[in-house]
Every structure is written in structure tokens, then in C-alpha cells.
């Protein structure tokens, strides 16, 4: 399963006066949706006695995310870290992840039967593109936006939410990749014992571009088809009239405004 370390963006806001970012108490976290992927992997481990391997790509500090995953109960952790991986768009990211997955599958002799679990999207980039691109690169079927799964010996049956109110039930053979929605489960917290083990005994294995035998033209900024032309802060659509006072005063003023606007 794949996880990503992201900034705690829910804490990031725009200062309305200066139109700049306010970053109070922001720290890096496991992408919230990836916690659901982790939880699902751990549930499947308990039910089916499978081995769970977590993979992440990022700077060395992303090791914290993998340590947390180890504390939750995964078996092994791999971190793809190299300056050459930086600046990757989703094409280059999925290529790098696929190289590592192929290498790991070979080492564990499980190229025939495996399941890749990803969160449906990350809170920072929020593209949701890496899971299908990774499946394509691995040449396996994908089912995205999954909210329920049944795993059996050689196949999965999943519920995929394809519209706000509609679900399609799909069956496919292993190996396969799924991306899971945030409502699939409630992620567990790491136990004390888990945390101790994760920091004292467990090992995070690092792969750089050489270890993956990566073609330098297919990773990082060089392997990216898209590039950022510019970054800017969004414009405010309207300048709100802020209504202040006691609850009674606020309500009186608001109703007056709405009447003037001919809403009623």
C-alpha cells in the first residue's frame, strides 16, 4: 500500500487582510485518506494472514509517516527518497512507485498475487491520478473510489462509488489496485506497544534512484510532462460585509440586508 506525507493543510488559511498564507501549527501528517488505506490493509492482514508492505516517496522526513504506519501494525516499510525524485508530476511519481513495487514483489516472490491499496486522493495535490497511473504502469486492473471490499483467494469484489448516490459492484482478479474513499472505515490509532516496536526494532528501507535502476529521464522534474507555469493566490470573489454585535443585533441587521437585496 502507498502512503504520502502531506502538510496539515486543514490548518492553512489565507489572511484576509494581506492575502498571504497563515500557517499556524502546521506539521506534516500521513495523508488522511491514506490512513483508510492503511486501516484496510491491516484489516485484511488480520482476516487473511497476508503481509502488509507500505511504500512512500518523499524527503527523508517522510520516514516519520512510515514509522507511524509501522506503529499501526504494518510489516515492512520502504521509502523512496532521492533529490532526483523531486518535482515529479503524477506520471513521474507513478513510474517511480511502480519501479519500487516491481523490485519488492520480485524480492518477496509474489509477482503473481498481490493487491495494491492507495488512498483515493491526497489533500495537497488532490489529483487522485497516481492510483490509475500506477495500475497502468503495473499492467493490472484498477478500481477507484472504493467504499467496500471482499477479498478471496484470487479475486476481489468491491463497491465503487461512481456517483453521489450510486454504487457499482465490480469483481476482478488479482493482482489488482484499488483506491479507497475516506468512508470505507475508521482508521485505528497506533498502540503504545506498536509505537515502541516501530521506533526500536522496525526498519525503514531506503531506495534511491540507483537502487531502483531508474532512467533519469523518467523520474522527478525530468520525467514530468506537466510543468508549473505560475503559482498565485486565489482572488476573493466578493468582499463580505461582516455583521457584528449580539445574536439579536446580528439577526436584525442580516434581515435588513436581505430585505434590501430583495431576497424576501
Amino acid at each position: 500500500m502507498c502512503i504520502k506525507q502531506v502538510p496539515g493543510v486543514s490548518e492553512v488559511k489565507i489572511d484576509p487582510k494581506t492575502n498571504t498564507l497563515v500557517r499556524e501549527g502546521v506539521k506534516s501528517i500521513i495523508n488522511p485518506n491514506d490512513r483508510n488505506a492503511l486501516e484496510l490493509a491491516l484489516t485484511l492482514k488480520e482476516e487473511h494472514k497476508v503481509e502488509v508492505i507500505a511504500l512512500s516517496m518523499g524527503p527523508p522526513q517522510a520516514e516519520e509517516a512510515l514509522r507511524e504506519a509501522l506503529a499501526m501494525g504494518i510489516d515492512r516499510a520502504f521509502l523512496l527518497s532521492d533529490r532526483a525524485f523531486a518535482g515529479a508530476d503524477t506520471l513521474a511519481t507513478s513510474h517511480t512507485l511502480a519501479l519500487a513495487i516491481k523490485k519488492i514483489l520480485k524480492e518477496f516472490n509474489s509477482e503473481e498475487k498481490y493487491l495494491i491499496i492507495c488512498g483515493a486522493q491526497a489533500v495537497d495535490g488532490d489529483t487522485g491520478q497516481v492510483p490509475p497511473e500506477l495500475a497502468e504502469e503495473l499492467g493490472i486492473p484498477q478500481i477507484t473510489y472504493v467504499q467496500n471490499i471482499e477479498l478471496s483467494e484470487d479475486k476481489i469484489v468491491v463497491e465503487r462509488k461512481f456517483r453521489a448516490t450510486e454504487i457499482v459492484v465490480i469483481e476482478t482478479k488479482l493482482p489488482a489496485l484499488i483506491s479507497v474513499l475516506i468512508d470505507i472505515n475508521k482508521p485505528r490509532f497506533p498502540s503504545m506497544v506498536g509505537i515502541m516496536k516501530a521506533y526500536e526494532k522496525a526498519n525503514v528501507v531506503y531506495f534511491d534512484s540507483n537502487a531502483l535502476n531508474a532512467d533519469k529521464s523518467k523520474i522527478g522534474l525530468n520525467g514530468s510532462m506537466t510543468e508549473v507555469e505560475k503559482i498565485f493566490f486565489p482572488e476573493r470573489k466578493v468582499n463580505p460585509i461582516m455583521i457584528e454585535g449580539s445574536a439579536e443585533e446580528i439577526v436584525q441587521k442580516l434581515c435588513q440586508y436581505l430585505k434590501n437585496d430583495k431576497v424576501f
Binding site: 498564507l21 484498477q142 448516490t165 510543468e227 439577526v251
Partner: protein, 399 residues
């Protein structure tokens, strides 16, 4: 590859440190210094008033392709129960604009089963051509069959731009197609423009929860692919003109897909129609609990408004799924939208930004919802709404 700070130009103003989402810049002797955890996202470059920040990287590009061979704009249709989704029509209206700028054809690519009798009606939506891929199995969406058909069509026809709805369906096959073609793909664009000199598609999208906008381009490859959410662009005006129809029949069978559709379950309970509602009262996480949501319902009742909410309220089971407003829910445009305890993530905003008057009630004065509200109230909704309900009741009885 790295971000370079020109130490001569840097004044130590720390704007870049503020802008960095990854805590990857610090001041060292009053000069900005980039740390190893930098992800090259470039947010800092724009914020530097001295233009002291730049990006340096060694180009190891693979062989360039001749991008001038690629011509035309495509929109890939999405349909459910034989009905083309609004997002596909909205893409046709934007696609028309782009195709006119580029002076190329606009094609509507439709993979389906029973559309023969609909083609004439569809042809009123401004395209020059409809490419209709007909196969009984394509009544439903199959990830692998869509990928195969669209990739083959692209290789044969070489369009320069492909627009796809940023729905769970579009976001499923678009990346797979992009990977197979090694094409650049930009998700959830809110703005699309053309640089006429390079014919590059300039794709603007919100990132980091909508706190930053990024404009993305694919300079060295084609096609340029983009997904766009519903409600971002307008519906096209109907025009009668000659539309070329290319019908291609595919002999797919069920076994041609690696996946099997077992069944489709619909969870729609009632005929909720918040899309056409005049008044909407919507709640977010700030409402606090399922019980807390009652007060939102009461406010909706007294206003004869429809009840709505952000995605999280549906996930927490406070609200029925068919009342979800936003990127993965409904797009609404009421006369009055009252947002209660909604922080205003861009995913929600895209669903309600066309409301005429927006009133936002939130405890947090920095909540992004206030950037989209006409009237803002900073305070506890559980104190304000009961008073509001009383006042609306009074107004109603006076009428």
C-alpha cells in the same frame, strides 16, 4: 535539481518561509536557506518581492515529438442511464471557445450503446463532429475498455487537447489513458486558456485545499489532457449546424474486460431536487453533531428552503447523500445560500459558487467561506440560528 536563493538579492523578509507548505525554508544569518525536505513545489518563487528565488535543474529530456501534428479539441462524453451529464455539455461550450481560438475542429467522443436516435439532438451543442463508438457493453462504464478505445482513437486522430469531466468516472480513465500515451494530465481545472504562440493549454487549478492556484502546462508533448468539475463552465447555447457523425462499431463482449460489473445499487431515497431550489440552508462540520443538525433543518423548514451540506456531513451520517453539495455532490445556484459551520474548502465552493447571495456563519474568522460570502457572521451558529429562526417565523407571520 533545486530551488536557488540569490544571496545578494535576499533581504531576509521571510515571505518565502510563510509560503512554504513543507517547512522547507529557514533563515540562516538573515538569508533564506532551502532545506532538504523541499519538494520543488515552487510556491516560494512567486512570493519573493526581490525575485531572489529561482529553480535550477539539469534537463535530461527524452526525444521530443513533433507537436504540430496534433490538431483539434476533444470532449469525452459521460453518460448514465442514457443521459449525457451536464459536465460534458459544459466542456463542449469551453471546448468550442478553445477550438475557435486554435482554429481547429471540436469533436465530441461518445462511447455508448443506444445513442443513434439522440445524435441529432446532441449535435445542437456546438461541436463540429461526433465520434460515436457503439458497442452494447458500453452502456456501462468499463475502465479498461474506455482506456483501450480512447487511446487507440487518439493515436489515430492526434487531437491536441482532450477535456474530460472530473467525476469519479473521468478521474478513473483519464489518468490511465494519460499514462498509456505518456500525455500530461491536469486534474480539476477551474480555468482553461490558450497561449496562441505555443498553442499550449494553460490549465489553472486549485491546490493545497484551494489556498493556492497553480497554472500548469504541457509544453513538449501532446495531447494535453485536463479534467474539469461540473458547474465550472456554462452550458452551451444551442446552434443548428452541419455536424459530421462518425460511427464506429466495436464488437466487445463481457469477457473483453478484466472486470465484471456485478450490479449497480442506487441509494436515492426521495426526489430531492436541491439543484433547482430557491433557498438552501447548508451545514458543515462546524455544526458539531447529528443532533446539532436539527437546528439547521429547522432553519431550512421555516425558510421553505432545501437542506444541504458539505461532504463531511454525509460521511458522518448527519445528512442524506443526495443532499451533498460540492465537487462530489450537487452543484446548486439558489437565490439565497446560508452556509452554517462550513469552512469553505474549494471542493464545496465549486458546488455553490453560483448562488446569488451567500450568508456564512462560522466561528473561525479566517475560514475561507468568508471569501465567497456576501454577508459574514463570526460566531457560534448554535447561538445565532435560534434567534434567526424566531425572526424568520415573525417575518413569515407578518406576510
Amino acid at each position: 535539481m533545486s530551488i536557488i536563493i540569490d544571496e545578494e538579492l535576499c533581504t531576509g523578509c521571510a515571505n518565502c518561509i510563510e509560503s512554504c507548505m513543507y517547512d522547507a525554508i529557514e533563515l540562516d544569518n538573515n538569508i533564506a536557506k532551502v532545506l532538504p525536505n523541499c519538494t520543488l513545489c515552487r510556491a516560494c518563487i512567486e512570493t519573493c518581492p526581490e525575485e531572489a528565488i529561482s529553480i535550477e535543474h539539469e534537463e535530461v529530456k527524452t526525444q521530443e515529438i513533433d507537436i504540430s501534428q496534433f490538431k483539434g479539441v476533444w470532449v469525452v462524453a459521460e453518460h448514465y442511464k442514457k443521459k449525457i451529464q451536464n459536465v460534458s455539455f459544459q466542456l463542449l461550450s469551453k471546448g468550442r471557445e478553445l477550438a475557435d481560438l486554435l482554429q481547429v475542429k471540436l469533436s465530441f467522443v461518445l462511447l455508448g450503446k443506444d445513442f443513434d436516435d439522440e445524435l441529432e439532438e446532441l449535435s445542437l451543442n456546438g461541436m463540429d463532429e461526433i465520434i460515436y463508438i457503439k458497442s452494447p457493453i458500453l452502456k456501462d462504464y468499463y475502465s479498461d475498455l474506455y482506456t483501450k478505445v480512447i487511446t487507440e482513437l487518439v493515436i489515430e486522430n492526434k487531437p491536441e487537447i482532450i477535456l474530460i469531466g472530473a467525476t469519479p468516472t473521468g478521474r478513473d480513465f483519464a489518468p490511465r489513458v494519460a499514462k498509456r500515451l505518456n500525455a500530461g494530465l491536469t486534474a480539476d481545472c477551474t480555468g482553461l486558456e490558450i497561449n496562441l504562440e505555443t498553442r499550449n493549454l494553460l490549465q489553472t487549478r486549485p491546490t493545497y485545499g484551494g489556498s493556492i492556484m497553480a497554472t500548469i502546462r504541457t509544453p513538449s508533448n501532446r495531447p494535453q489532457m485536463a479534467t474539469v468539475r461540473a458547474g465550472i463552465f456554462n452550458m452551451p447555447e444551442k446552434v443548428k449546424k452541419n455536424v459530421n457523425i462518425r460511427k464506429i462499431e466495436y464488437q466487445f463482449e463481457e469477457k473483453d474486460s478484466v472486470s465484471k460489473i456485478v450490479k449497480i445499487i442506487s441509494k436515492t431515497k426521495s426526489n430531492v431536487n436541491i439543484e433547482d431550489a430557491k433557498f438552501i440552508v447548508a451545514g458543515g462540520r462546524g455544526v458539531g453533531s447529528r443532533e446539532g443538525f436539527r437546528i439547521i433543518e429547522e432553519l431550512a423548514d421555516v425558510l421553505d428552503a432545501e437542506l444541504g451540506g458539505s461532504r463531511i456531513t454525509v460521511e458522518l451520517n448527519w445528512l442524506d447523500p443526495d443532499r451533498q453539495i460540492g465537487q462530489t455532490g450537487k452543484t446548486v445556484s439558489p437565490k439565497l445560500y446560508i452556509a452554517c459551520g462550513i469552512s469553505g474548502a474549494i471542493q464545496h465552493i465549486v458546488g455553490m459558487q453560483n448562488s446569488e447571495i451567500v450568508v456564512a456563519i462560522n466561528k473561525d474568522p479566517n475560514a475561507p467561506i468568508f471569501n465567497w460570502a456576501h454577508y459574514g457572521i463570526v460566531g457560534d451558529l448554535h447561538e445565532i440560528i435560534p434567534v434567526l429562526i424566531q425572526e424568520f417565523k415573525k417575518l413569515k407571520s407578518e406576510e
